[in-house]
């Protein structure tokens, strides 16, 4: 079976896991990191039979299997979904629902009487804000279409993990950096919304691989350290993705 694997930065660890598991020997895998693919629209429309990958200024062609004979694997949710959030909000986390002007300059930790930097956001409100953009980003931002997705035999979706609520309550609120529930709610809601939008594509066969637990973080980890930790624990962590792959039909 052929596997066409689109993904965001989580592919770093994922590819390592694939190699460790020897999957390359057993199946035909094609990795397509979305930021580096320059001809997405042509691929999606069927006009291109190979992907053009841009690395360090050099373009490398990669042959593509016919979608009708392939499984589509989507790793992470960044480039397909909240990438534009990063762009809109001016960079990496906080992953904000509200405008940046409601910022930590007004915020404080719990119990100090100051208004938190980010209002708490309900799942319903989150969906109301983001359903359209998730759907848009999932399909259209990078040129993907539902038609393209439906050509594949099956979709396997690997959702990245979130940090625990406890971490945010314990650490990030005390720093006045992020509203714990909001960010956790954001991640939780975003994953739920992402899955919902995927299901709405009308694909006949979808396998959603959810993380089994939250990220483990040491006491005292700062917000900036968290970002680094997430990269180490998840993004670039082949062992982590080995466990995830083993729990999926990809293994």
């Amino acid at each position: 079976m052929n596997y066409t694997i689109w993904g965001d930065s989580h592919l770093i660890g994922f590819m390592g896991a694939v190699e460790n598991l020897g999957l390359n020997d057993r199946a035909d895998l094609t990795f397509l990191p979305t930021p580096n693919v320059v001809n997405i629209k042509e691929i999606v429309s069927g006009a291109a039979s190979s992907a053009s990958l841009l690395f360090d200024g050099e373009v490398t062609p990669v042959d593509l299997a016919q979608p009708e004979q392939s499984v589509l694997v989507v790793v992470g949710n960044g480039n397909f979904a909240h990438f534009s959030v990063y762009e809109r909000k001016g960079g990496l986390p906080p992953l904000w629902v509200y405008a940046p002007e409601i910022h930590a300059s007004r915020g404080g930790g719990e119990g100090d009487g100051l208004i938190p930097s980010i209002p708490p956001v309900s799942m319903g409100l989150f969906r109301a804000v983001y359903a359209e953009s998730v759907g848009h980003n999932l399909l259209y931002r990078h040129g993907f279409t539902a038609h393209y997705f439906k050509r594949f035999v099956k979709l396997i979706l690997f959702i990245p993990p979130s940090p625990s609520v406890a971490f945010f309550s314990r650490q990030l609120c005390s720093e006045g950096y992020l509203e714990a529930k909001c960010l956790h709610g954001f991640r939780r809601a975003y994953a739920a919304l992402f899955k919902q939008e995927v299901r709405r594509l009308g694909l006949t066969s979808v396998e959603i691989n959810d993380p089994s637990g939250a990220l483990e973080l040491e006491d005292g980890t700062t917000a900036e350290e968290y970002l680094v930790d997430e990269v180490l624990q998840v993004h670039g962590n082949a062992a982590y993705w080995e466990r995830r792959i083993r729990s999926s039909s990809l293994a």
Binding site: P119, P120, S122, G124, L125, V129, K181
Partner: protein, 355 residues
């Protein structure tokens, strides 16, 4: 005929010339402002459903209407109302009674804690004091409390920053938590929660109570503002009750409630120089309108009627020179004959028996 005190009164003082023969869309002398709204004055709005019209119109005419809980930038405008955004100066939802307003201010000041605050419906949890701001409810009671903490903290800023509060008095009837006296905007069981006669009771405020509550509210506001002065414009909602639990005919209950509220508003404005009364109620219920002010249901106020009300307001309080709405509440533009307002009270209409 001898000299008498009615001799030199203006046309507005007589029913024939002031009402029967007067154009109801341009009633001369019906409102004379008591004070100016200075340019840049920070205006807060609150009250019953009718107050939502006022909020939109003030913002639409360039007044600085505060909004301390603005909607997320990605939320479609069509969904603002569903989530309690852009209706008033914060996401408190409709504040139907003065007791409710007082308790809210007391909660902000840390002087009072509402009880029986979390209501459940189908496994979802709602803030009983503003059940309409999260249509899907929240995941847990804890989440309700967290959302409320943020809301209350935001209101502190609102109460401290406002220069003028425009408050619309709506109802005298309310449902309360027996033990604590917590007043709800809707009865338990309507949007969420369960009515329990051992826990909840009906109340119909009386004149003295309403007057005292409003003065107590002002006291709390002064404390929060450390004495910084503020002004008030009161209006009375012309919208009749959807339903009355008083045991009286709803027409009788409506007349009673509106009369009480009008009297309280009038007395406050008469006796306190920083309080003005704006006669939205009278403009809408003017018999010359021949009920044209209301939609087919005889309750919802037509946009044309709201236009008429606000035209009278703006004839005294001229809108600021800049035409664009400042950041905050989106400006109102009349799009339909009847713009729906978010009014939990209207839900009671579902329970009216069929004819």
């Amino acid at each position: 005929m001898g000299v008498h005190p009615y001799e030199d009164l203006p046309p507005a003082a007589f029913w024939r010339s002031g009402v029967a023969q007067e154009d109801p869309h341009a009633i001369q002398g019906i409102y004379r402002k008591k004070f100016e709204i200075p340019p840049g004055a920070r205006i807060a709005t609150a009250g019953s459903c009718f107050a939502q019209h006022i909020t939109r119109r003030l913002a639409g005419h360039g007044f600085q209407v505060l909004d301390v809980e603005p909607p997320p930038s990605g939320l479609p405008t069509s969904l603002h109302q569903a989530y309690g955004f852009s209706l008033f100066s914060a996401r408190y939802g409709n504040i139907f009674t003065v007791r409710q307003l007082l308790q809210l201010a007391q909660e902000v000041a840390g002087d009072w804690v509402p009880q029986d605050l979390v209501w459940e419906n189908n496994g979802r949890y709602f803030d009983a004091l503003r059940p309409g701001v999260e249509p899907d409810g929240l995941d847990s009671p804890g989440e309700v409390m967290e959302h409320r903490r943020y809301h209350i903290a935001s209101l502190r800023t609102l109460f401290q920053d406002l220069d003028l509060l425009v408050f619309t008095l709506g109802l005298t009837e309310a449902w309360e938590h027996r033990q604590s006296g917590t007043v709800y905007p809707t009865a338990p069981g309507i949007l969420a929660g369960q009515f329990d006669p051992s826990l909840h009771t009906f109340s119909n405020a009386q004149f003295a109570d309403i007057l005292a509550d409003f003065n107590r509210f002002q006291g709390v506001l002064r404390k929060l503002r450390q004495g910084r002065p503020f002004k008030l414009i009161l209006t009375v909602s012309p919208v009749p009750l959807t339903a009355s639990a008083s045991g009286n005919h709803v027409l009788v209950s409506t007349a009673y409630s509106k009369a009480l509220l009008r009297s309280v508003a009038g007395q406050l404005a008469f006796n306190q120089p920083h309080i003005d009364y704006f006669p939205a109620y009278e403009i809408i219920t003017n018999p010359r309108m021949c009920s044209a002010a209301f939609a087919e249901n005889c309750r919802s106020v037509r946009e044309a009627a709201v236009d008429n009300v606000m035209a009278h307001f703006f004839s005294q309080h001229a809108p600021p020179p800049a035409s664009a709405s400042p950041a905050g509440i989106p400006g109102g533009q009349r799009r339909e004959e009847r713009v729906d307002v978010a009014c939990e009270e209207m839900i009671l209409d579902r329970f009216a028996p069929p004819r």
